[in-house]
């Protein structure tokens, strides 16, 4: 009785759910999306495929997961067919994800289209490269690399070959125009500041009377330049007695003599 009641209730519940969708009249286009989501959940790796991943540039990226902006990042993907049927490696997809939520895509890179047939017991190496944009400088991002392939029967497979958080660093090895002009600007500012300070200090010194000592005129030096004076005039002056004083004083001097 209990079981039959539970079954009846569950059937009624299911009907109610579908009925509600019909009654609401909502036209949803969830069909294809739902199928795609189901496919992504179901698609996995093939046991007959052995994949390997290795960074070739930068050389130490395999140990230290750090990339520089503006510099190429290259890696190799090894695909080994351990089965008895052909595989076709379709493409690889590389993307940056939010480090704490890998379902949130920050950037999707262009697919690496290979369409390479791999015979049984054959190994191939595929390569791909990308550049990290400078907007990602100084932050960690999740790097995800997936390889899509299918077997001879048309079954699709996806293999995640890299799924880790990497650090994107700013490349400051080369000369930066911004830094150079900033340096020139600061030099010009400092020179302008020194000039203004000099002007201000000189004004202050003038106001407070701390001016330079004025040179007091004390007449010409005793050394006379005789080059422009005729020699005759000099001789005549030497002949005459050195009588000083005014004509009146000279008369009184004569009278006393």
């Amino acid at each position: 009785m209990k079981l039959s009641a539970i079954l009846l209730l569950s059937v009624v519940g299911l009907c109610a759910v579908y009925a509600a969708d019909v009654v609401d009249g909502e036209v949803t286009d969830d069909g294809p999306k739902t199928v795609q989501e189901e496919e992504s959940l179901d698609i996995g790796a093939s046991p007959d495929a052995g994949l390997a991943f290795h960074f070739v540039q930068p050389a130490d990226a395999n140990v230290v997961h750090e990339f520089y902006t503006g510099k190429p990042v290259k890696f190799l993907i090894g695909f080994q067919n351990k089965g008895e049927k052909d595989f076709v490696v379709k493409y690889s997809e590389t993307s940056f994800r939010f480090p704490t939520d890998y379902n949130y895509h920050l950037q999707n890179f262009t697919r690496g289209e290979y369409n390479r047939r791999v015979a049984p017991k054959e190994e191939v190496t595929l390569d791909y490269g990308f550049y990290a944009h400078e907007t990602f400088a100084g932050r960690p991002v999740g790097l995800v690399v997936n390889v899509h392939y299918q077997d001879a029967d048309g079954n699709a497979f996806v293999n995640n070959v890299f799924n880790q958080t990497v650090n994107i660093l700013e490349d400051d090895s080369g000369f930066s125009g911004e830094t150079g002009f900033l340096f020139i600007f600061f030099v010009a500012l400092s020179i302008g500041g020194l000039y203004l300070a000099n002007q201000f200090l000189s004004k202050l010194s003038r106001k407070s009377g701390l001016s330079k000592r004025r040179v007091v005129e004390q007449g010409t030096s005793s050394e006379v330049d005789f080059e422009w004076i005729p020699r005759d005039a000099v001789k005549n002056k030497e002949k005459r007695s050195p009588v000083a004083g005014s004509p009146k004083a000279r008369k009184t001097a004569k009278k006393t003599d």
């Binding site: 390997a52 290795h54 070739v56 050389a59 290259k74 190799l76 090894g78 080994q80 289209e113 290979y114 369409n115 390479r116 054959e122 190994e123 191939v124 190496t125 595929l126 390569d127």
Partner: protein, 182 residues
């Protein structure tokens, strides 16, 4: 517990072997005919054992009637590549003509030092059927060359101001200079 650990260790040891990956890059900025083009091969052993008798084959990419090989050889041998090591090999070629060249497979044959198993790895630089176009240097002049027009334009704008100003200054100095008297 111990028995399961032993089984796990056995499985791990069974998978230990040499595994080689190949990469090929063109180090020159542009593929130019009648100029030296440098290619770099990276042979990486990501396995746990050494790869011995490693042979690189890429002769098909550089037919001798179309390329002159200056340095290195597209076919070369390495005695041993230790585990977790990368070997670099460089080839310098000069294309004889302006031409598109189809990209061919690069193959590496190697032997595992432990199991003596011979493996064959190939790589496809770009995708099959693509061509690398070796261009003439003149075709890239607009991209890689420097034009004198911007410099001439700058000189035409800057020279009148700087030359005239200096001319006026020296004329004034020569006419009206006053020697200082202490």
């Amino acid at each position: 517990m111990k028995f399961s650990l032993l089984i796990l260790a056995w499985f791990v040891s069974v998978d230990a072997s040499a595994r080689v990956l190949i990469g090929k890059n063109m180090l020159s900025t542009y593929p130019l005919a009648h100029k030296q083009n440098v290619f770099e091969y990276q042979i990486v052993n990501i396995g746990n054992t050494s790869a011995i008798n490693v042979e690189l084959h890429d002769r098909d990419s550089f037919p001798t009637d179309r390329f002159e090989i200056l340095k290195g050889s597209p076919n070369t041998k390495f005695a041993e590549i230790p585990p977790q090591m990368t070997v670099y090999h460089h080839v310098v070629v000069v294309p004889r003509n302006v031409q598109p060249i189809e990209d061919k497979n690069v193959t590496v044959d190697y032997t595992d030092s432990e199991t003596k198993q011979v493996s064959h790895v190939s790589t496809l630089w770009y995708s099959k059927g693509r061509f690398t176009h070796y261009l003439h240097e003149d075709a890239l002049k607009a991209v890689i060359g420097t034009s004198s027009k911007p410099f001439l334009g700058f000189a035409a704008i800057a020279l009148p101001f700087t030359a005239l100003s200096s001319l006026f200054y020296f004329r004034s100095k020569s006419r009206y200079s006053v020697t200082k008297q202490n």
